[in-house]
Symmetry: C2
Subunit: 461 residues, 2 copies
Amino acid sequence: MTGTLAGPFLTAPIPIDLPATERVRIAYRRMAAANRPEVWITVRDSTSVLLEAAAIDARVAAGEALPLAGRLIAVKDNIDVAGLPTTAACPEFAFTPDATATAIARLVEAGGIVLGKANLDQFATGLVGVRSPYGAVRCAWDPQRVSGGSSSGSAVAVALGIADIGIGTDTAGSGRVPAAFHGLIGVKATLGLVPTTGVLPACIDYDCVTVFAQELALARQAIGVMVGPDRADPRSRVWPPDVPLAAPSVPRIAVPRPEDLQALEPGYRRAFDVAVADLAASGCRVDTVDISGLLDAARLLYDGAIVAERYSAVGEFLSGRPAGADPTVSAIVLNAGRVAGPAVIDDQDALLRAKAAAGQMLSGFDGLLLPTTTEHPTIAAVRGDPVAINRRLGTFTNFCNLLDMAAVAFPAAPADGAPFGVMMVVPAFHDQVALDLAARFLGQEPGNPLPGNGIEVSVFG
Amino acid sequence: MTGTLAGPFLTAPIPIDLPATERVRIAYRRMAAANRPEVWITVRDSTSVLLEAAAIDARVAAGEALPLAGRLIAVKDNIDVAGLPTTAACPEFAFTPDATATAIARLVEAGGIVLGKANLDQFATGLVGVRSPYGAVRCAWDPQRVSGGSSSGSAVAVALGIADIGIGTDTAGSGRVPAAFHGLIGVKATLGLVPTTGVLPACIDYDCVTVFAQELALARQAIGVMVGPDRADPRSRVWPPDVPLAAPSVPRIAVPRPEDLQALEPGYRRAFDVAVADLAASGCRVDTVDISGLLDAARLLYDGAIVAERYSAVGEFLSGRPAGADPTVSAIVLNAGRVAGPAVIDDQDALLRAKAAAGQMLSGFDGLLLPTTTEHPTIAAVRGDPVAINRRLGTFTNFCNLLDMAAVAFPAAPADGAPFGVMMVVPAFHDQVALDLAARFLGQEPGNPLPGNGIEVSVFG
């Protein structure tokens, strides 16, 4: 895939057959050579990382099976790693946690090695990557353009071949938009499958931990390692017993009507038509559906009352007007404090109805193919218009968590010589269908089913 | 059961072996003789009811299997019946729906006959039965005492032997408290199992349609008829494939610590100890648990931000200050309009955490036995203190829907010569375990499992 669709835009990953110690040394050399200091908020001391890598090499040499042995990880800095500060891209917010987030701890148990904490749109509020006092994160292949956000640093670290796995979060599309801009895979699993213990909430009911990788199989493996129930997370969910494990041999895929695609810039519009044609050519049955209900729901994330969740998360902190607050983020969060309680109830009800309508609209389909985002703006353009462009970028991603859907973002054929990303969107718990469909589109092996099927261990009765 | 525990307080049901027409005639005679006009807001014209009964008799005579043939139903007047006004106990709110609520339509399809629309605490806000301009509903066996509410009329119609099935709703305990005061069965199924299409919301996320009956088997049958997916209800849920169908042979039952029972008046306190002893004597293993987390969660229904749901439902209407508004209800609902959006998010989060904690606390138990309510006040006492007594009455019922639990209320041995009610509380979808445990306690047949197991028909994929 990287050779055909996004290869020119990515630095090839560090070879996986090298010892972990050697991979770490190469990563630090690439980090220095890349000269992208804004990618990181905290880089771990290389000596201690090398010691950790040596220990993993020793365990592998002793015959231990570590599925992610030596895989290098960039962790978005709204996710806790014990001993490293969590800033959420606001210096005054920083604290140093004693415990590592459950999802990251599972990656490390599987042999993964954390390189450091990556920059983000402050408090994970944004899809651009410029809303950070630690610097606007520049696109890996064109420093004039935005990286996408809010998981900006994690995506660029993977695109630059420094990290194998970029861990992000996704509320509005933060784990998918940066994937689209770089030709990466971005997996946003069903809400609750990957625990959010140790993750700073953006919108606590709609936050996911996500994976960026250059290869689908690795992204799938990393998600598989992170999935599983967690008693400390009240939103933790388990696979239902009847979860589908793959798409049928002739999948039926929904695509939007032309009028639903008006937000796309012309090059993206043409590229999406190509992606749909490629999908049909690959043996899928493709049918058009009216996605206006999804697009309406998407607008409720920022323009409705649901934004009150952002005030619940960090509003009190931002009310103190810290110097490092990003002005755009701060305005969004503080305005959210004025939302009325009954309006929250009303919008939650509207979302439930939209979810039911979406389920009926997509009944009989195996997935919905959408463009991931609408355009790839420059940093200057976003600085000149920090809200409207950001809102447009979320046109096709915002509804996903609100309506309890899962999505896999992956590269399609380039648009005007630049990466172009699409998403396979599926209902909750159909994650493996989306991964299977993405693999077929990319001509890759589907990989193993995600683990964790079965019964929760802590139910009452 | 009615003979031993609640018999003296109930008028025996109209014999079921009589033709439906004869049952209807007896019901109207009993209605007149009872002289409790406040029980009903709308009574159907007896001529049309008799025609409907005759049609059912003819279908039964022709061999049709109608599980509820000739069963007479009182419908709480916040639930639509086509052609009859829905008032929610506020005359200015009245409208006449064209469609019957899904739950009632299913009862009628099964041969049930609606007698009329029953009084309630206005907008289903209250546990007392006195908050209605159509009159305070008096307890069936002592007109000085409250009936309980908000499903007041439906419960009294069943206790007086007029209706076989009383249909109520339950948000805070409205389908259980009146059962306790009358020695009735009150079944509050898991949220979403019985559709709420055609039901006026009280708190739209926490409303259930419930059944009162004198016999557990009939209550179970009526619930079974009403359960099932409904595309028009976005909160409709289906049984998971692994739903438990009965309790084990030696059930393990949790009961509260003495300090969790301080809200009980002394007679109720003694009666609850007797109920626990009876449960142990019946072969259950009984263990004490700390239910303070449940009691804390209960207080969030009215004293926290969740009450914003009541403003969403009818706040705009009550803002117009209609003359028929009950002052206590109106004050609660209009105050709820001032709740802040982020406070709703915070309290919803607190409830999710309380739900997770409850699940862990009750892990390994088949059910939790609780007193249904704390005391049986007089109408005069409630009029003198309309909020505090009502709040106390909900001590043990309020948390149930908030924490996604199901409950079956049933009579235990009397307290100081008056009915005393207990509840078997279980997690979502363990309804059949609760019914099974109640049947064992009452020495009745457990009845058939509820129908509707299986896969939803309208899922996407």
